[in-house]
Symmetry: C2
Subunit: 328 residues, 2 copies
């Protein structure tokens, strides 16, 4: 039994945003068709080391593979050592035999498949004439969301705001180089939201940043940052009357941005419009008017890792990348 090993550079060489968007769409459809087993997220916490480790697992009956992603966040890394804050490992197993197929660095995959998720939602829910995007946060995910979005929409202007403004010069340089679009650095939330057609939040905020008065008819909102109870980027009032879509409603209700709106009793679970896979499958309509406010809440699903890692594995195999190890 030979297992392929892929380091971060191998994974980088085997990933393109366009391919990942396609893969994540397949994943959302598989989930909607009931072809996916996605056990609850496993979490272990090491408060004494400012760290946590999560496990997202998934069996996808369509590609007959099991994926297991072990992702850690240790927030003192980089200070006392030269490790990145986020370290991820993804394992792929053959769902017909249990054989270990591939073990790869998982750090890039989480970032890119989350960017792809936002892009897919904008394709289905944003106004087709959207030109201006407001971005909250200036880190890796704030980049990935824009890289994904620019693959699927004719964006002209990116307005960005961060609670850590020192990171924005590098953000502007990177994003302008990667996308060819203009990045405008904003010094207030209000300035960022002005004229935005799409607004994307990628911060670890625990108290909401964006007041509901700043959300105008016709906007599409992508809520990425809130992925566990206690995180909050948006005024819960924005959910009132909006078309609310989740990646997995069950997961978003328990740990996403919609949780805050439900806890605040702004909406009930019954008010949620549907899952992104239902819209992709054509079972439910996407945006239906130029005025409606649409919200996509994503907490990240094992199926996204599964389909993205399988795509990486296939491309790496074609390209002859990586090394092989016989565990058995």
């Amino acid at each position: 039994m030979k297992t392929m090993l892929l380091c971060m550079d191998d994974v980088r060489s085997s990933l393109s945003m366009a391919a990942v968007i396609e893969a994540v769409e397949e994943g959302y459809l598989a989930f909607e068709e009931g072809k996916v087993q996605q056990p609850d997220i496993v979490s272990m916490e090491m408060p004494e080391h400012h760290g946590e480790t999560d496990i997202k697992s998934c069996y996808n009956a369509l590609n007959e593979s099991v994926s297991v992603k072990i992702a850690s966040g240790f927030y003192d890394n980089g200070k006392t050592n030269d490790l990145p804050t986020m370290i991820g490992t993804i394992l792929l197993f053959d769902g017909r035999t249990g054989a270990s197929v591939c073990i790869m660095d998982g750090s890039l995959i989480t970032a890119i498949r989350t960017g792809a998720a936002g892009a897919i939602s904008s394709k289905l829910l944003a106004r087709k004439d959207s030109k201006t995007v407001a971005v909250f946060g200036g880190g890796g995910q704030a980049r990935m969301q824009v890289y994904g979005l620019c693959q699927v929409m004719d964006i002209e202007t990116i307005k960005v705001y961060s609670q850590y403004p020192h990171e924005l010069a590098a953000y502007k340089a990177d994003v302008e180089k990667e996308t060819g679009r203009q990045v405008i650095l904003c010094d207030s939330v209000e300035m960022t939201m002005e004229d935005a057609d799409i607004a994307i939040s990628t911060t670890p905020s625990k108290e909401f940043l964006v007041n509901s008065s700043l959300v105008k008819p016709g906007m599409h909102i992508v809520a990425v940052g809130a992925d566990m109870a206690g995180k909050n980027e948006w005024d819960p009032q924005i959910f009132r009357g909006a078309k609310v879509v989740g990646d997995s409603i069950a997961q978003c209700v328990s740990r996403g941005e919609m949780r805050n709106a439900i806890v605040a009793k702004v909406i009930a679970e019954d008010d949620i419009y549907g899952e992104i896979g239902e819209i992709l499958a054509g079972k439910k309509a996407g945006r239906e008017s130029a005025e409606e406010i649409t919200i996509f809440d994503t907490t990240g699903m094992g199926i996204q890792d599964n389909v993205t890692a399988m795509r990486v594995y296939e491309i790496a195999k074609e390209k002859g990348l990586g090394q092989w190890f016989e565990f058995l």
Copy 2:
């Protein structure tokens, strides 16, 4: 970040039953001291391929490591391919940084750490003058239990019974060679239990094999086979009045042999005496008389994998075994 890779042969060269018994004792103590986070077992099922994949994870604050074991059972393996039925992979991460420390074949570790668990229970709960052991099942775990037991007790005779008697000739040859003790093949459950001081069950049985009338005062029972709801090796009546000990009571009550006795209302959860770690730590007594019947129920814990895999990793590093791969 360099990760050690260990194949099955490397793991085999780095394991001794004596070292694993020591490691598992440390693990049980750590669990009892509240130093272990052990999330619920994750299970995915592939009935279309007669397979299942489970994940047992654990953070041990004493050795500051996270372990994740992904273990599959695919019951058509070996028929249409040359893969073993059970395939396991264990990953170790540094619990201070999230760094990936070691990835090893996990097939042997489950077997040996389970054998060690039975041995530890016999040391604490069997009569010191125990000479004869009854074994149910003739597979790998039926071997490991005896290998463990012979490390800690002066066993003279091993009596074995299997529902698949064809496997017993090989069992006798292997066990006599490994332990130097006599193995007697039995053709009935009654014959097997006669004169037994310790009885160990390792079958996947779904209906009980051993009637309570065969369990005599002074016996110690090690119930290994039942590790999920629906499995049953012992007449639930044996639990009445016995000293019942579990590895993790919470886990045994939901998926071990004790579950059957509770469901049958032979005992209530309050009748369970304690956890093996409490006895190891001296908080509760082990065996207190030559007449009492003691039962150890083990469903297998992530902490056993954690401490065993860490021991393997340390020994492999000393011996210069394995290969290294840089994921990051």
